[in-house]
C-alpha cells in the first residue's frame, strides 16, 4: 500500500497543536481581505508523527550505509554538529539584533572566514552564498565586476571544460557570458592546445574543477592557469571536489583567483534531502573589494581585559547582496565544529583517506568494469557501466540493481564525456568492510549482467517502489495532491 498523503489522512475537526486563546482584546478583522477557505489538512499529532516516520523509512541515507554518489561527497554527518547547532544561543538569535547581543555569532563567522581563507589559500571570504551554485554565480559576478571596474568591457566569454558540472555554464549564462566549451585530452586533463587557441582578450575567465569530475588531478593545472592569466582572464575554481585537497594543496596557491566551498560536502554539514547547502566564496587579494556584503570583520581589536568587537563591513566595490541576512548561519556552526574537531592534521587525514578509499575501489573494480581514464585518482573515479558482450545493459540498470544490495547507486550519466558513466565517491568515512561489500555487489552485478540480465533490467526488486515511470510523470504532470473535497 502506498503511504497516504497528508490530505488523504486529513479528517475534519482534527488538529495537531492548539494555541492559547488571546490574552488581549480582539480587534475587528479586515473583512475585505479575509480568505473564504483554507484548504489545509487536519491531523492529530500522532497522525503527523507516524506519517513522517513512515515516509522517512522509504528513504536511503548515509546513516544506513555507503552512499557513493560521485561529486556529492556523502560523508558521515557527525551528531555533535547537530547538537551544538541547536544551542538556543544560536537558534534563537534574530538576524537584526544589536551587534552587542550577537558577538558569539560574529566571532564564529569571523573565525570560519579566517579558517576557510587558510584552508583554501585566499585573501578574503564571504559566507553569504546559500549553496554551491549560488557561490558560482557570486564568483562569476565578482569576475564581471572586476573587469568592468578596470574599464575592460570586451570580455564576453567564459571557458568551461566539457567535464564540468551543469551549474558552471548555467551560472555563467546568468551572469551574461557566452560559454566556450574546452575538450578533455586523452589523459583526462584540460586540452591545453585547444585552451591556448581560444585564449584571447575576449576571455573573462575559466571555470575549472580540480580534481575534475573524472576524479583526476589535472596534470596541466599550472599551464592552464598561466594561459588564462596571461590574457588577463581570471580563474574560477569549483570547490565541489575540495575534499581531496584538504591539507594537500591550497587552490589559491595554485593560482586560482575565486573558489566556492561546499560546506555540505567538504565540511560534513548534512545534505538534508537536497539542502540547505552553504557555498562560501574565497577570493584572491585583488578581488576582496568585490565580495558581496556585509562581511564580518573585527572592528575593534581587543586586549587582555576587553575582548575584540566584531561587526559588519561592506566591501568597497561589492557586487551587492546575494541573499537575505548573512547566509546559512546554522550550516556555519556545523562546519565550524567539524573543522575545530579536525585541526590541520585531521583535515589532511580526511583527504588522504578519501583518496585512499577511492583508489582502493578503483583497483578492485578495474578488472570488472572499463575505466576510460585509468590512472591514480583522487577522491572519486568514473567507470563505464556497460559491456560489449551484453549491449542491452546500461549504467542505469547497474544503478538500480545496486539498490537490491542495499546500496545507494553512484552518480550516473555524469560526466557527460563518459558513456554510461558511473561516478563513484566513497568518502573517507567508509570502512574497508563497507568498501569490500560495495565491490562484492558490483562484481556480482557484473556476473548477473551476463547470466541473468533481466535481474538488472527489472531492478530494483527490494525497494519501497519498483522502477518509476518518469515519462508518465513529465507527460501527465501531477505536481500536487488531489484537491481536498471542498464541500
Amino acid at each position: 500500500m502506498p503511504e497516504p498523503t497528508i490530505f488523504e489522512l486529513s479528517s475534519p475537526g482534527r488538529t495537531g497543536v492548539t494555541f492559547p486563546t488571546s490574552d488581549v482584546p480582539e480587534s475587528p478583522l479586515p473583512v475585505d481581505f479575509l480568505r473564504s477557505d483554507l484548504p489545509l489538512p487536519e491531523m492529530s499529532e500522532v497522525d503527523v508523527v507516524r506519517h513522517f516516520t513512515r515516509l522517512s523509512k522509504l528513504n536511503y541515507s548515509i546513516d544506513q550505509g555507503i552512499y557513493p554518489l560521485g561529486s556529492c561527497t556523502m560523508k558521515y554527518n557527525p551528531r555533535v554538529n547537530e547538537m551544538v547547532a541547536r544551542f538556543s544561543g544560536f537558534t534563537q538569535t534574530h538576524p537584526l539584533q544589536p551587534l552587542e547581543t550577537v558577538q558569539g555569532n560574529l566571532y564564529l563567522m569571523y573565525l570560519l572566514q579566517e579558517w576557510l581563507k587558510e584552508i583554501g589559500g585566499f585573501a578574503g571570504v564571504t559566507l553569504q552564498p546559500a549553496a554551491g551554485a549560488q557561490g558560482e554565480l557570486t564568483g562569476i559576478l565578482i569576475m564581471r565586476a572586476y573587469h568592468v571596474d578596470r574599464g575592460d568591457t570586451r570580455r564576453t566569454r567564459i571557458l568551461i571544460p566539457d567535464s564540468a558540472h551543469g551549474t558552471n555554464p548555467a551560472s555563467s549564462a546568468m551572469s551574461g557570458y557566452e560559454v566556450i566549451n574546452i575538450p578533455t585530452d586523452p589523459r583526462g586533463n584540460i586540452d591545453l592546445n585547444f585552451l591556448q587557441s581560444v585564449c584571447d582578450d575576449r576571455v573573462a575567465g575559466i571555470m575549472i574543477t580540480n580534481p575534475n569530475t573524472l576524479g583526476l588531478f589535472d596534470q596541466n593545472i599550472i599551464p592552464v592557469i598561466q594561459a588564462v592569466h596571461r590574457v588577463g582572464g581570471l580563474v574560477y575554481g569549483d570547490g565541489a571536489n575540495l575534499n581531496a585537497l584538504l591539507g594537500i594543496a591550497r587552490p589559491g596557491d595554485l593560482g586560482i583567483d575565486i573558489m566556492h566551498f561546499n560546506l555540505h560536502k567538504t565540511f560534513a554539514t548534512p545534505h538534508g534531502g537536497g539542502g540547505p547547502g552553504s557555498g562560501p566564496v574565497g577570493v584572491a587579494a585583488s578581488l576582496v573589494d568585490f565580495l558581496p556584503g556585509p562581511i564580518v570583520s573585527m572592528v575593534e581589536e581587543g586586549d587582555e581585559d576587553i575582548p575584540p568587537f566584531f561587526g559588519f563591513v561592506q566591501p568597497a566595490k561589492s557586487i551587492g547582496r546575494v541573499k537575505s541576512f548573512f547566509g546559512h548561519f546554522g550550516m556555519m556552526v556545523r562546519a565550524f565544529t567539524y573543522i575545530a574537531m579536525h585541526g590541520p592534521e585531521g583535515l589532511r587525514k580526511v583527504a588522504e583517506n578519501a583518496v585512499l578509499n577511492a583508489n582502493y575501489l578503483l583497483a578492485r573494480l578495474r578488472n570488472t568494469y572499463h575505466v576510460p581514464y585509468d590512472r591514480i585518482c583522487m577522491h572519486e573515479f568514473v567507470l563505464e557501466g556497460r559491456w560489449k558482450e551484453v549491449p542491452e545493459i546500461i549504467a542505469l540498470d547497474i544503478s538500480k540493481r545496486l539498490m537490491d544490495y542495499g546500496i545507494h547507486p553512484p552518480t550516473n550519466y555524469f560526466p557527460l564525456i563518459v558513456h554510461d558513466a558511473l561516478m563513484i565517491e566513497p568518502t573517507e568515512t567508509e570502512s574497508k568492510d563497507s568498501l569490500d561489500y560495495f565491490v562484492d555487489a558490483m562484481e556480482k552485478i557484473a556476473f548477473e549482467a551476463r547470466t541473468h540480465p533481466e535481474w538488472l533490467k527489472e531492478a530494483p526488486h527490494q525497494t519501497p517502489v519498483r522502477r518509476v515511470d518518469e515519462v508518465k510523470a513529465a507527460k501527465e504532470l501531477v505536481l500536487c495532491c488531489q484537491p481536498i473535497d471542498r464541500e
Binding site: 503511504e3 480568505r35 594543496a249 548534512p270 534531502g273 546575494v322 575545530a340 591514480i376 573517507e428
Partner: protein, 450 residues
C-alpha cells in the same frame, strides 16, 4: 576523526592499489605546492568542542530571553516539538537530493506534499520544491519574467515597500543582464510609504514584471487588484511576495491576479538561527510551470502500477540544459521545506488560522497601546497584519538603546533602509508576544518620553 581505518587496513589497501605509501597517491599535485602547513588550531575532542561552542553561544543574547519586537523579514513563532523531532531522523537529514526515486520516496512524497501546501496557501497552481530564501525567490521571479519575454522587455517595476534586501538581491542577480533596469524602488528614497497606486505610472509595454509585497515590508495590507490589472493590461507578469502566516487569515494573492508568488517560508516552523537557513517559496500559475526555476516533484506510477513520486520536468534544469537552463539552481532547501510541511500538517486548517489571528490581535492591541503614549504615533492609514510603523520622538537607535537597558529588544530601525524615515520603528508582534511584553514596551517608551 570520523575515518575508521586501522593502520593494518591502510597497509592492506595500499598493497591492493599497488603503491607503497599514501604520498604516492598525490604525485599529480605539483610538488612545490604539496602539503601546505595549515595555520589552524589543533583538533578538539567532542567533549572540548561542545564546551567551546557552548561558550560561543553564551556570548549571544537569544531573542527568546527578553521581549522582542524585531521582525522585518524574520519572525519568532512557536515551533511544535514534533517538527524538530522528525527533522532529526537521519533518514531525512542524511539523505541527498532524490535523484534515485526508488530509494527516496520519503523525501519525494514530503516535497510533493510541500508543493501542495504552498499551492493551497497561495492559490497558485504549481509550487517548486523550494528556493534558498524569499529574496532569491524574488530574484528568480524577475529572471523568469525576463526569459518569459525572451529578453525583449527590459524593465522590472519593484515596489519601494518590497523588503529592502529582496530589492538588493534582485539588483545583484540582474547585473549580468545588460540593459535590464529596475524602476519603482527609487521611491524608497523620496516617498517610502507610498501605496501601490504610485507604481501604476511606471508600468508600460517594456515592463516584464511588477513585484509587490503582501503584507508589505511595513506590515500594510493593500488590495492589489488594480495594479495586477494594470500589469496584465501592459502584458507584464504580476508577482506578489507573501508572508505565509498571513495567508492563514488573508485571501490568497491569486485573488488579486498574481502570476507568480514568492515568499519567505521561515515563519513556518523554522527557527530564527541568525538569518538562515530559511525557505524560499516560489509558486506560479500553471502556464509558467516550464519556466519555473528549481526542482519539481511529480506523481507517477512504478513498474507494478503503484503510486510513486519522481523529480520531473528536469529538462529545464542546469544538469541537462547547462547554459540554456531556466536557472543555475541545483539543490533546494529540502530540510527546511520538510520542516514547513510538518509544521503546516500539525497546525492544519484551524491552527494556522489561530496563529494568524493571534498575531493580528496582539499586534493591533500593541499598536493601540503605543498610540496612547505621548510623542509616539502609529502609522494607521491602511490595515496591517502583525507589523506596523511607529513614528517616534527621537532616532530609533536612541530609543532602542534605552529599551535594551530595560531588557527589551526594540523594533527595526527603518532609517537604515529609508533615510527619509529617520524616527520610524517597525514593530513586529507574533503569537509569542505576551500581553506583559507589550505592557513592558509601552512602559519603557513612556519612560523614554518622560
Amino acid at each position: 576523526m570520523f575515518a575508521p581505518h586501522t593502520p593494518s587496513e591502510r597497509e592492506e589497501m595500499l598493497k591492493v592499489i599497488g603503491v607503497s605509501s599514501i604520498d604516492d597517491l598525490f604525485r599529480d599535485v605539483p610538488e612545490n605546492f604539496r602539503y601546505p602547513q595549515l595555520n589552524l588550531p589543533p583538533a578538539l575532542t567532542e567533549m572540548e568542542v561542545v564546551a567551546e561552542l557552548n561558550e560561543i553561544a553564551m556570548n549571544n543574547l537569544p531573542a527568546s530571553e527578553m521581549p522582542c519586537f524585531l521582525g522585518a523579514g524574520a519572525y519568532r513563532h512557536y515551533i511544535p516539538a514534533a517538527v524538530d523531532a522528525l527533522l532529526q531522523r537521519g533518514e531525512f537529514f542524511t539523505a541527498y537530493t532524490p535523484y534515485q526515486p526508488e530509494v527516496s520516496q520519503g523525501t519525494l512524497q514530503a516535497i510533493f506534499e510541500y508543493q501542495t501546501l504552498i499551492t493551497a496557501l497561495t492559490g497558485m497552481d504549481v509550487a517548486n520544491a523550494s528556493h534558498y530564501d524569499g529574496a532569491t525567490a524574488a530574484a528568480e521571479a524577475v529572471i523568469m519574467a525576463y526569459h518569459n519575454f525572451r529578453g525583449k522587455r527590459t524593465q522590472a517595476v519593484v515596489s519601494p515597500s518590497l523588503h529592502p534586501q529582496y530589492r538588493q538581491v534582485i539588483r545583484t542577480y540582474t547585473q549580468g543582464y545588460s540593459g535590464f533596469s529596475i524602476v519603482g524602488d527609487e521611491l524608497a528614497a523620496t516617498e517610502p510609504l507610498t501605496g501601490p497606486d504610485t507604481l501604476l505610472a511606471k508600468i508600460n509595454e517594456n515592463t516584464a514584471i511588477v513585484i509587490v509585497q503582501y503584507p508589505d515590508f511595513f506590515g500594510r495590507i493593500y488590495d492589489y487588484t488594480q495594479i495586477a490589472a494594470a500589469a496584465h493590461a501592459a502584458g507584464a507578469l504580476f508577482c506578489v511576495a507573501v508572508n505565509p502566516i498571513a495567508l492563514g487569515l488573508l485571501k490568497p494573492p491569486s485573488e488579486f491576479g498574481a502570476d507568480i508568488v514568492v515568499g519567505e517560508g521561515q515563519p513556518l516552523g523554522i527557527p530564527l538561527s541568525y538569518g538562515g537557513p530559511y525557505l524560499g517559496i516560489l509558486a506560479a500559475r500553471k502556464e509558467y510551470v516550464r519556466k519555473l526555476a528549481g526542482r519539481l516533484v511529480g506523481e507517477t506510477i512504478d513498474a507494478d502500477g503503484k503510486r510513486a513520486y519522481v523529480l520531473t520536468l528536469t529538462a529545464r534544469e542546469q544538469h541537462i540544459r547547462r547554459e540554456k537552463a531556466t536557472s543555475n539552481i541545483c539543490t533546494n532547501q529540502g530540510l527546511m521545506a520538510l520542516a514547513s510541511t510538518i509544521y503546516l500538517s500539525l497546525l492544519g486548517k484551524t491552527g494556522l488560522r489561530q496563529v494568524a489571528e493571534l498575531c493580528y490581535h496582539k499586534a493591533h492591541y500593541a499598536a493601540a497601546q503605543i498610540s496612547k503614549i505621548p510623542g509616539f504615533q502609529v502609522y494607521s492609514d491602511t490595515p496591517f497584519f502583525h507589523e506596523f510603523i511607529v513614528q517616534c520622538p527621537a532616532p530609533v537607535e536612541e530609543i532602542n538603546d534605552f529599551l535594551f537597558e530595560e531588557g527589551i529588544l526594540g523594533g527595526y530601525d527603518l532609517s537604515q533602509d529609508y533615510p527619509s524615515l529617520p524616527n520610524a520603528m517597525l514593530v513586529a508582534v507574533t503569537e509569542l508576544t505576551g500581553k506583559e511584553d507589550i505592557h513592558a514596551l509601552c512602559k519603557a517608551l513612556e519612560e523614554f518620553h518622560a
